[in-house]
Amino acid sequence: MSAYTKIKTKLNDQESLVYSIKAMGYDPAIYEVACKLAGFSGHKNPHANIVIPRAQLQAKSAAYCDIGFQKQANGFELLVNDVDEHKMPGFLEDLNLNYNVGLAMKKAQLAGIKVTARKDSVIKGKKHVQLVFA
C-alpha cells in the first residue's frame, strides 16, 4: 500500500518556493487552507498548501500522485507519494537550486540592484547558477 512521505525542508519563503516550482515548469495551486492531495483513491492522502497537480507531473514523468508542500513553523514540508519518489531524479536538487535563485533575486530587489547577466553551468556534477547584479 502506498503512502505519502514527509520530507522536512528549510524552504520557508513561499514566494521563492513558488518561483522555484514555476522555474521547473509547473504551475502550482496555492491554498491558504490546506487542500487534500490527489493520489490513490481510498488512501488517506495528506493536505497541502502548495500543490503540483498530478496531471502536470504525469506530463513530465511517470509520477502518479500530486506533490504537495505543507506550511510548517520552520519551513515547508514536502509531501511525495512513495511510489513516485524514484520517478523524479534530481527533483529535490532542482527545487533547492531554483529556490535559492528566487531567494537571491528577491533579496537583490530589496537591496535595489538588478540582474544584468545569468550563467547556468554544471560544476563537478552539480548544477550551478551565477547571477550578476549591478
Binding site: 525542508t9 537571491a104 533579496k107 537583490a108 537591496a111 540592484i113 547558477v129 547571477l131 550578476v132
Partner: protein, 63 residues
Amino acid sequence: MAKKQVVVDITSEGFTVNINGMTGTGCEAISKAFASAGEVVEHKKKPEYFKNAKALVNVTNSQ
C-alpha cells in the same frame, strides 16, 4: 576604479555573494539583504571590509 558589481554563485545548497567596487552603506545594505536570506556560514564583517570595497556573504539553506 573597480567595476560596481554583485556576483551571486548559487547551488542547491545555498549561495555565495561577492560584492565588488562598492563602499559604505550601499555595500552594507546589500550584504545585510543577502545575509538575511538564511544561515550565514561565513561573513567577513570587519572594518576593513568596507574600506576594501569587497565582501563575502556565504548563505546556506540546505536541508
